[in-house]
């Protein structure tokens, strides 16, 4: 696990993650922050529990970075994902992509989060006042 790809129990610090990709020749930085929402389907979320199959999650995140750099060869990218117990409003994932120009930064950052949501083995359990559910588990 490098600095750029990181799974942690700690609060994600956006400024620090941005500084990992910022570079004098890269003028556009697109950051995505996925935060814990309060309500899904009308129920109050008390907290969320994120669980990772950590070595594979790191491997998948590394594959995402490699695929991203195949398409945007001058990009720098960092993906940090939080696990453990999160409360509403906190960031679960922060992705930062720096490229020379902004259009590539947006496209590459969107590619990273879209792919992460499909392939990275991290699971989210929503805990409500009256129960809990693994998100997306059932049709």
């Amino acid at each position: 696990m490098s600095d750029l790809i990181h799974i942690t129990n700690d609060i994600l610090e956006v400024e620090k993650i941005v500084s990992l990709v910022s570079h004098p020749e890269l003028g556009g930085i697109s950051v995505f922050i996925g935060a814990v929402r309060n309500r899904t389907q009308g129920k109050n979320v008390v907290r969320l529990e994120y669980e990772a199959y950590e070595p594979m999650a790191v491997a998948e995140m590394t594959r995402i970075c490699n695929r991203l750099k195949e398409q945007w060869s001058d990009a720098r990218v960092a993906i940090h994902h939080r696990v453990g117990i999160l409360t509403v409003g906190e960031a679960a994932v922060v992705i930062a992509v720096a490229t020379p120009h902004r259009d590539h930064a947006f496209a590459a950052c969107k590619f990273a989060i879209d792919t992460l949501k499909e392939t990275v083995p991290i699971w989210k359990k929503e805990v409500f006042e009256d129960g809990e559910v693994w998100v997306a588990a059932h049709p």
């Binding site: 996925g34 935060a35 929402r37 899904t40 994120y50 669980e51 199959y53 070595p55 594979m56 491997a59 679960a92 949501k117 499909e118 392939t119 990275v120 083995p121 991290i122 699971w123 989210k124 359990k125 693994w134 998100v135 997306a136 588990a137 059932h138 049709p139």
Partner: protein
């Protein structure tokens, strides 16, 4: 042949444990392995899907499992809440 299986998220809740040992006579591919699990744990069939990872990579149905492989069940990942 005996394999160890890592379980996460709802798959762990269904099985009631974070690891599972499985014995099988002869060659075992991913497709057959998934069917064995569904037979043993019918609730697995109610999931949107589940995938199998071998040595930390997603494996196709025809992949043959070997003793010593790191095998994991991958239920649906976190989905679209943001």
């Amino acid at each position: 042949m005996k394999i160890q299986v890592l379980l996460f998220g709802i798959a762990r809740d269904i099985v009631g444990s974070s690891q599972l040992s499985l014995s099988h006579d002869g060659a075992l591919d991913v497709k057959t392995f998934k069917q064995i699990l569904k037979d043993k744990y019918p609730k697995m069939s109610h999931l949107s899907y589940f995938k199998v990872a071998v040595n930390q990579e997603f494996a196709k149905d025809d992949r043959v499992l070997n003793e010593g492989d790191e095998i994991a069940l991958i239920p649906p990942v976190s989905g679209g809440s943001f």
